[in-house]
């Protein structure tokens, strides 16, 4: 078994398996129109998943809003915008809102043998978001964890293939999140696409959500819907 899920804390993924899961993931994304693509690097043949989307951000939502109404908080903080808004539309929504262009990449870390989420964000005028602005935009539910150790969670790093500054969700936290999700019943997850499972867990921390369409099972699997 190349994806060894034998121990709860060891969610290691071999690179070949990573590529296979990514291939499946892109196919599913195409079926449901979620916008992910695979990019291969010209020199070494490795690659990464990529998706760009635009979000309307309301910076003036106070942090205690999360206690009032959890469902709406996420929508207000990160209203998913399908089409790019031009500046006039963005300005018309209300002075406190702005459009942010997010670019997400999923790369493979051979050092930690897990996928890693890279992302960058900029306003429509090209100004990149600062690390502080990124930290402030982390989903309300994760703010407590982030306050404890911001330097262990999201930092700015050099993209290993493009060589440009990106923000990165640290891999060491990945196994913590994944352990919490998988708990004890690894048997049911043998057929789960690791990327879907992992991304649906860590993505929301940085405003990336997977539509429910990824959970649709192929006829031959036929077990429980909660294996995602």
């Amino acid at each position: 078994v190349s994806c060894s899920m034998a121990r709860e804390e060891d969610f290691f993924l071999e690179e070949k398996r990573f590529k296979q899961y990514c291939e499946e993931f892109v196919k599913r994304s195409q079926q449901i129109g979620d916008g992910w693509e695979w990019r291969t690097s010209k020199d070494l043949g490795d690659g990464y998943l990529s998706k760009t989307h635009f979000q309307v951000r309301n910076r003036h939502i106070p942090p205690d809003l999360k206690e009032k109404n959890n469902d709406n908080t996420e929508q207000t903080l990160f209203a998913h915008v399908e089409e790019p808004l031009d500046d006039s539309q963005a300005a018309g929504v209300g002075g406190a809102e702005e459009v942010v262009r997010y670019e997400y990449h999923v790369l493979y870390s051979s050092s930690y043998q897990v996928p890693v989420l890279y992302f960058r964000a900029c306003f429509l005028d090209g100004r990149p978001l600062t690390l502080d602005e990124i930290w402030a935009s982390v989903h309300a539910s994760y703010q407590a964890r982030l306050q404890e150790g911001p330097w262990d969670t999201i930092t700015q790093q050099e993209h290993p293939i493009l060589g440009q500054p990106f923000f990165v969700l640290h891999p060491c936290r990945t196994s913590e999140f994944i352990s919490a999700v998988l708990g004890g019943s690894q048997k049911h997850h043998r057929h789960t696409n690791y990327i879907i499972l992992w991304l649906s867990t860590v993505g929301p921390v940085v405003g990336l959500n997977l539509p429910l369409g990824y959970a649709k099972l192929a006829p031959e699997q036929g077990t429980n819907a909660d294996s995602m």
């Binding site: 051979s110 050092s111 330097w151 930092t155 060589g163 500054p165």
Partner: protein, 275 residues
């Protein structure tokens, strides 16, 4: 015969004579004199240039001073790369002192990471050490250490204290007696000509038959273009800490003795000078 420990000291105390000049378009109240400094090869630009910043700030107005950044012959210098790596990669076959241009305006957001405090450097340094240990020991050694040990590694680097640093770092250089080396070697190979910033792959220091893999074996496996065929002319140099180690050198030995304080072997492939 030189003791292996002497190599550790030679690596730690390596210095590059550097001349810092203020970029001509920066707005000054009077002429800015160049500033000369011996840069530690093993450290990071933003960690050792407080004096450079102070020197140039004296001739500038407060509002003109933003985050400092450095450039060599038009190329922004990545502060998160060790100084010795930057020099070997960009300027090793040029005349000393190394001429670096200092900027305070127009920070190149698309090229350089931000570095607004020493905390950023520490976080980066520690992240590299952790990644190196993930490769060498599945993170077991670094995770067993206390926070104060981690702090000691950083303080040793920051204050240029060889003994303080190595008191802790030696544990990261050990391996179980039944093994003959680390699990994988932490290394990165850099070439200024590629878009990809570096090559990093899993590589074992010991072959299945028990033989020690060499630097040549590593290059053949990971970056074959760096090794020229027997009959061809050697067009490139393989440089670590300003020298060209013999390709027969065991990679395990190189990892233990010629890694940077972040525990990585940073290897430059550069064009061989033609004269």
């Amino acid at each position: 015969m030189t003791d292996d420990k002497d190599v550790l000291r030679d690596v730690w105390f390596g210095r590059i004579p550097t001349c810092f000049t203020l970029y001509q378009d920066e707005i000054t109240e009077r002429e800015a004199e160049p500033y000369y400094l011996l840069l530690p090869r093993i450290s990071y630009l933003t960690l050792v240039t407080d004096k450079v910043k102070k020197h140039f700030q004296k001739v500038m107005r407060q509002e003109e001073v933003n985050e400092i950044w450095f450039e060599y012959e038009g190329t922004p210098l990545k502060w998160h790369y060790p100084i010795g790596l930057l020099f070997d990669l960009h300027a090793s076959n040029t005349a000393l002192p190394w001429s670096i241009t200092v900027h305070f305006k127009n920070f190149p957001e698309k090229d350089l990471l931000r570095c607004h405090s020493k905390d950023v450097i520490e976080a980066h340094f520690m992240a590299c050490i952790k990644e190196a240990d993930a490769l060498k020991h599945k993170s077991q050694v670094i995770n067993e250490m206390q926070k104060k040990d981690h702090k000691q590694l950083w303080m040793g680097l920051q204050n240029d204290k060889f003994e303080q640093f190595w008191a802790i770092n030696r544990k990261l250089m050990e391996y179980p007696p039944e093994d003959n080396g680390f699990r994988y070697i932490p290394f990165r190979i850099y070439q200024a000509t590629t878009e990809r910033p570096f090559i990093q792959k899993l590589f074992r220091p010991i072959a299945s038959g028990g033989q020690l893999h060499t630097l040549g074996d590593l290059l053949k496996d990971v970056c074959p273009s760096a090794i020229t065929p027997e009959d061809g002319e050697q067009k490139t140099q393989v440089m670590i800490h300003g020298i060209e180690p013999m390709l027969e050198t065991p990679i395990q030995w190189l990892s233990e003795h010629m890694s940077y304080p972040d525990n990585f072997l940073h290897i430059s492939i550069i064009p061989r000078p033609t004269d």
